[in-house]
Amino acid sequence: MQFHSFQTRLLVFVLGLLVLVQSSVFFAVNKANINNARVQIDEALEITAGVFKKSINDRTQRLLEKARLLSGDFAFKQAYATSEHGTILSALENHRIRIGSDWMMLISLTNNVIADTLHPDLHGVTFSLPELIKNVMESEYGETSSIEFVDGIPYQMVVVPLFTPDPSAWIIIGFVIDATFAAELQELTKSHVSIVSGRPGDSLSLVASTLANNLQTTLSNTLSAVSWEINKSIPLRMDSADYVSLVTPLWNDKDNSIIAVLQRSLDEAMQPYMRLQVILIVIFVSGLALSLVGGVLIARTVTRPVQILARHAHKIEEGDYTHYVAIKQKDELGELAESFNYMVKGLAERDRVRNLLGKVVSPAIAEELLSKEIKLGGEEREVTILFSDIRNFTTLSERQSPQRLLTLLNTYLTKIGEVVEANGGVVDKYIGDALMALFGAPLNHDDDATRAVNTAMGMHKTLGGLNVDFEQQGLPKLNIGIGINTSVVVVGNMGSNTRLNYTVIGDGVNLASRLEGLTKKYGVGVIVSESTKADTAGFLFRELDRVYVKGKTEAHTIFEPVAKEGELGHADLEALDRYHEALKQYREQNWDLARKHFLALQAKSPGDKIYQIYLGRIEKFIKAPPGSEWDGTFTHNEK
């Protein structure tokens, strides 16, 4: 498929537009989706952070409630009142199991350890978390809660007083912060929960996490590497997956030494959008396919008729009018095809007419007739008219069968017609055995007269060849005479409105015909008028005579084209000069001198009829001189 074809261009445009629009939509939607997902996760994480905080507080409250139960427990008070370490410790342990905590401690108001379930032997020493006691002393209800590390393990702990009924000691209850803790919070917050100890900028260590094991290490490393702020969501890339993460303090202590990292997988949040993306891609691809098929089909409805039309146009160019374009479309192309068929029909008609016309008239005339509006009337133009005729045709026709005669005539006319056309002339008409040719109408050349003379010479030459053929076929030899005249005549369409004829009329036409008639008398093949001779270049002429042609009052000098310049030999040129000298003496009525020349010429060319004619006239004029008024003109009384 060529890129420049209509179909390709249409497809490139349609598909290009589709791809542009679809991909713009796709990218816009995709971008909006990702942004939307981020915003949603951000919002969700903010809410989650709130839920997280609330759940930590609730948990603390529950722990406090449990602790308060103990602080009011009379049996425990009694155990405490025994001041026996073992009794107090086992009562403490008993309570620890009751409420399901991980650690319990009893601290005196003077900050000494009374009992510690994690360290049963420890008592009477200073409590290791004085800050906690300080906090509880400053609190409103003698209660506090915190997250503290004991033996490197973080505990969420609450402190309440032991009332007997005055506060007499501090009860500390601790719940370990571990994977179970994180899992509980995950359930509440629907986010990954990781508990990390350490401050921003410090190296962080993971305490507990709901993340997969491999991600846990990644998290502390990643978080240590980036800068983050409390309660500000940041994207974290962990093991080639994006997590929107929010760091929130697990406990509102002063230095945020223990934090919770809440995370949501961007990929998981993107799941619905991924489905949308797949749908978009499916729509995109099917749209592309449909456009491709539709585009090809639509393009075909254009290109196929156009291709058919082009093929047919090519055939017409080759002159084949026989095909009919069969396009059954009801659109513009259908109309075009219909018009095309009409055009072909018209062209075929015209071509037929042209062929016929070219046969009836000369192709040049046919062209002239077809190219212009045909109307009666003509114009004056200088035209050289050539008449040729077969001598003694009547006699000839009597001896031949009409069929043979027609064959002979057709062969002859075809051949000499070709000579006319070869010289740029136009066969105006055939009149029986005669032919009338025009040079200068409808087409004119600068050298129309020369062309006419050339034609005449050519015709004789052609005839020479033809006669050899005719002789072989047992046909008679033909002898022709040609008259040529150049004159201003009327050229145009003549006849009636319904039937007309392109021809020339005028006195010049008649003269040409008369000159043709004279050839036989002078025994020459071609006679041209003075005007033709004047327009002709490159030929040597022999002045034949000055005559009054029948029906003409004007005298005409007539010439015979002898040969092309330079073709004659020295003897012939001398003879021509002598002839013209003889003619001069004849016209000056120097009969004897003239006779002497003509006789000398005749002696060399006895067959030349012109010498005989002048010798005959000289004999007559010697007997009856024409008088001093005679200008040398001869009057022909017969046609």
Binding site: S71, G72, F74, A81, G142, P165, D166, P167
Partner: protein, 221 residues
């Protein structure tokens, strides 16, 4: 007030007025404020004779600490060493009075009315009383070696009458007193009849106590 209570009250009043007819006695007027110049009530003011004086055991001395509307009345009760204290329960529910204080450890398990046997406070010091089933109920029994003591009223005042001549160390105790009572010591000298005024500025600490349960409507569902 029941007949029995009235009877106790009479005994108490008679007992306290026994020493009044002594000659050469003074009246000690004490006012107690905290460091915010706020009048301190329920502060026990007691005067001990500087010269070692034989401790006179308060034979047959009796006192009561009432329980009314799930509170002890009074909040602070100073008694002479050896005083028998009755704990009449005036509520229609039972109480379970206890003390884990070294001055007097005792327990009267869930009871109604007035137990037949009073609790005799035979060691000087402070006994903190509580009720096992009502965490917020608390009261203090100040067991005094000296017969010269009183508790301040709402104006932070206490007036000890008939203080015999001699030198006395006057001290203040309060449940929220920061440090020991000795720090508040003021020595006075009582010569002839008259009146001595003393002012105490005491530092009080925060004292947490269990919050009281909201009142339940009796006979409700």
């Amino acid at each position: 007030m029941s007949k029995l209570q009235k009877w106790f009250l009479v005994i108490f009043v008679l007992g306290s007025s026994w020493i009044s007819p002594l000659v050469n006695s003074a009246t000690l007027v004490v006012s107690v404020v905290d460091d915010n110049d706020k009048k301190v009530r329920d502060a026990v003011v007691y005067a001990e004779a500087v010269k070692s004086e034989q401790v006179v055991d308060a034979e047959n001395k009796k006192s009561i600490i009432d329980q009314r509307d799930k509170e002890f009345i009074e909040y602070v009760t100073p008694v002479r060493l050896g005083t028998a204290v009755y704990f009449p329960n005036n509520d229609n529910i039972r109480h379970h009075v206890y003390s884990f204080s070294p001055a007097k450890k005792f327990e009267i398990p869930l009871y109604a009315g007035t137990p037949a046997d009073p609790i005799v406070f035979d060691k000087p010091g402070v006994a903190v009383l509580g009720c096992n089933i009502h965490d917020w109920m608390s009261a203090y029994v100040f067991v005094s070696k000296t017969p010269y003591f009183l508790v301040t009223d709402a104006d932070g005042r206490a007036t000890i009458k008939n203080l015999p001549s001699g030198d006395y160390d006057v001290q203040v105790w309060h449940p929220k007193l920061k440090g020991s009572g000795k720090a508040t010591n003021q020595r006075i000298s009582v010569g002839k009849d008259g009146s001595i005024s003393l002012s105490f500025v005491v530092k009080l600490k925060r004292l947490w106590s269990p919050r009281r349960a909201p009142a339940m409507s009796v006979g409700g569902y």
